[in-house]
């Protein structure tokens, strides 16, 4: 139908409705006529325009802030637009995390937004309170989030209580123990805390110590003190000897066991300090005495060894007298070897020993030691079985180039140790074989090592169950094996007895 046709029908319908006073029908006809006229004029119906503008205000990316020209005088529409745009702004601000924007709109929509804003602001305040340590804060709105928040705060509270308890326990331990303890910041060397034992030892009160650096106590150069701390921090523990200065100015030798600890979330180093000044002094005296005795004994021993040799040249001696003189000479030799062994040990300990490598036969060295022991200790050589396994087959000589003196002392110590530990008449086995670039020598006996010394078998002065044991035999064997570039190990069991195995490089 043409536009003219539609207009004519609408006009006729309007006329008819007016004539009949049917005003509702007249209103609908007038509206149809109005729409037809707007269509002819290419204009938008005001209701459609209002809906479009409000819809845009709600949903468009960039809505118009003003009603269109045909509706510019419509105050209600202008107010609706203003409110919708204000709600948009407020929502966008909240979406961007701005909770301070004033929401100017009244009514249900604005009120709901304000309630959300108030809740979020309160939640922010509560979170700040939690951050300040108030773990009693609980959220009673915002559904599942509230549960999660409350659960988190409860767990934080629990964790904090545990940390507090742990710190209190630590504090109690720290202050009550008699051992000297310092807490030090590994980054700066600052003394963070000191226990009563430390205060008594250093002669400073707690506040004085807390105002000091470990560098103020340590006589080492500052750089080395800090390097040591950095090393402890990196390895989480450390051990060393230092010389610290007390408040009185006195210097004390200390042994420090340091460990990295966490305190209130900070990594700190705890020094457990032992005053070893007196121990060091006694040790020095003992070493000096030992060294002097060794040197002083060597001169008379020369006579003790040589004079029997000269006497034995006399043809008038009986066989028994010759045997007795041989025993005197062998005893002198034994004592000389022991003194030499102790002297070499001291040189190794003090770092002054110089290795001299030479070709040697380990099996022959053992046989020689057995011969000596048979004379000096009355050992039956038949009780010691030597099994030699060279690459060419059993019984073949194993080539070895090493320091003869040290190897001799190692073997003598291991053999003597095995013999002394064995029951009378029990056998001692020696196995010698090659293992790649190493020569392996193991000495076995049927007795287990006493339980109390198993963990420190190779430590100095570790001895048990042996009459007159000095605790130096296995120690010197170990230290000399290491000086030879080798390793030493001990296996022991009640059922199988004890085997000490030495591995040394075949060529030094």
């Amino acid at each position: 139908m043409t536009d003219e046709g539609i207009l004519a029908i609408a006009r006729a319908e309007l006329d008819q409705a007016i004539r009949e006073s049917d005003w509702e029908r007249a209103a609908r006809a007038a509206d149809s006529l109005h729409r037809a006229c707007l269509d002819r004029a290419g204009l938008e119906h005001p209701a459609d325009a209002a809906v479009r503008v409000v819809r845009e205000a709600f949903f468009a990316q960039k809505p118009s802030a003003e009603p269109p020209g045909s509706l510019s005088g419509n105050r209600e529409l202008a107010k609706v637009l203003e409110d919708v745009l204000a709600v948009r702004d407020s929502l966008m601000a909240m979406a961007n995390g701005d909770l301070s924007k004033t929401i100017a709109v009244k009514g249900f929509l604005g009120g709901s937004l304000k309630m959300l804003q108030a809740h979020l602001n309160h939640l922010t305040w509560q979170t700040k309170m939690v951050a300040k340590g108030d773990f009693s804060q609980r959220v009673d709105f915002m559904g599942e989030f509230a549960e999660a928040f409350n659960d988190m705060v409860a767990q934080l509270d629990e964790a904090r209580k545990k940390i507090t308890e742990s710190e209190e326990r630590y504090r109690s331990f720290f202050t009550s123990v008699e051992a000297i303890k310092l807490i030090v910041d590994p980054a700066t060397g600052a003394v963070m805390d000191a226990n009563p034992a430390a205060m008594e030892f250093y002669g400073y009160d707690r506040e004085q110590l807390r105002g000091m650096s470990i560098r103020d106590l340590d006589t080492e150069p500052a750089r080395e003190s800090l390097a040591e701390l950095a090393n402890i921090a990196a390895n989480k523990k450390g051990h060393g000897f230092f010389r610290h200065r007390l408040a009185s100015g006195e210097l004390r030798e200390i042994e420090v066991y340091a460990s990295l600890i966490q305190f209130k979330g900070i990594s700190l180093v705890m020094y457990s300090i032992h005053d070893v000044t007196e121990l060091r002094r006694l040790e020095q005296i003992r070493q000096d005495v030992e060294r002097i005795v060794r040197h002083d004994l060597k001169s008379p021993l020369t006579g003790l060894i040589n004079i029997p040799q000269m006497l034995m040249d006399d043809a008038n001696l009986t066989a028994q007298q010759r045997e007795m003189l041989a025993l005197v000479a062998a005893s002198g030799q034994k004592m000389l070897r022991q003194i030499n062994s102790a002297l070499e040990l001291h040189k190794i300990e003090s770092g002054t020993y110089r290795l001299v490598a030479q070709e040697c036969d380990p099996a022959e060295l053992i046989r020689e030691n057995v011969r000596l022991m048979s004379v000096s200790m009355g050992v039956d050589p038949g009780l010691i079985s030597i099994r030699e396994h060279g690459t060419a087959g059993p019984g073949c000589r194993i080539p070895l180039k090493t320091d003869l003196l040290l190897l001799d002392i190692v073997l003598m110590n291991l053999l003597r140790n095995a013999l002394e530990a064995s029951e009378p008449g029990a056998r001692v086995g020696v196995d010698i074989f090659e293992d790649g670039p190493e020569v392996v020598i193991s000495v076995s006996n049927g007795q287990p090592v006493p339980a109390e010394v198993r963990d420190r078998f190779f430590e100095k002065y570790a001895t048990a169950g042996k009459k007159g044991g000095t605790g130096l035999g296995t120690y010197s064997a170990a230290i000399m094996t290491r000086a030879l570039g080798g390793s030493i190990a001990m296996e022991t069991a009640d059922e199988t007895g004890t085997k000490v195995t030495v591995r040394i490089p075949a060529t030094h």
């Binding site: 249900f108 009120g111 309630m115 108030a118 922010t124």
Partner: protein, 173 residues
């Protein structure tokens, strides 16, 4: 001023347990609102809106002052005060207090009261109605801090909002 017939004190609230052994301390909220809003109606008719608001603010402040003295006296930590206030207001059915901002140093606070005794659920009107609440909060804040406060309700159920929001600012001399 002529001799007064009544000067409020907490004791004059009476011994409720003695006086109401069967009905107890609670009553219906409508009764409370009925009394408050007929007072408002009569006051407004007699003294005008502005003067009525003043009376309600002052009454609320007097109530807040006594409320503090009888329930919160001795508390010095603000957070502890807020925590206890939240519990008491909720337990007594007065409202749910939440803090949005608390700047103690500058004496500036924003707080909300949801499910408010005075106004939650009232029909929408043109202006905020909780003037008594404003005074009540001012009485509490002044008692706690020892400083003068001006409390203003900025959002109210009666203006279409879902929660009553108050600003409380220290009055600078």
């Amino acid at each position: 001023m002529a001799e007064r017939k009544y000067v409020f004190s907490w004791d004059l609230l009476g011994d409720i347990a003695l006086g109401r052994p069967n009905l107890g301390p609670n009553t219906r909220l409508e009764v409370y609102r009925l009394m408050q809003f007929v007072f408002r109606d009569v006051f407004e008719r007699n003294y005008g809106t502005e003067k009525t608001d003043e009376i309600f603010y002052d009454a609320g402040k007097l109530a807040g002052d006594h409320f503090y003295k009888n329930i919160f006296a001795g508390i010095t930590d603000f957070n502890e005060f807020v925590k206890k206030l939240q519990i008491v207001l909720k337990d007594m059915g007065i409202g749910i207090l939440r803090i949005e901002k608390a700047d103690l140093e500058n004496g500036s606070f924003v707080l909300t009261v949801s499910e408010d005794l005075d106004c939650s659920g009232l029909p929408e009107m043109d202006s905020e109605i909780c003037v008594y609440d404003e005074g009540f909060i001012a009485g509490l804040m002044e008692s706690f801090t020892g400083k003068r406060f001006k409390v203003k309700e900025v959002d109210c159920w009666c203006t279409g909002d879902r929660t009553c929001r108050f600003t409380a600012e220290v009055v600078k001399d």
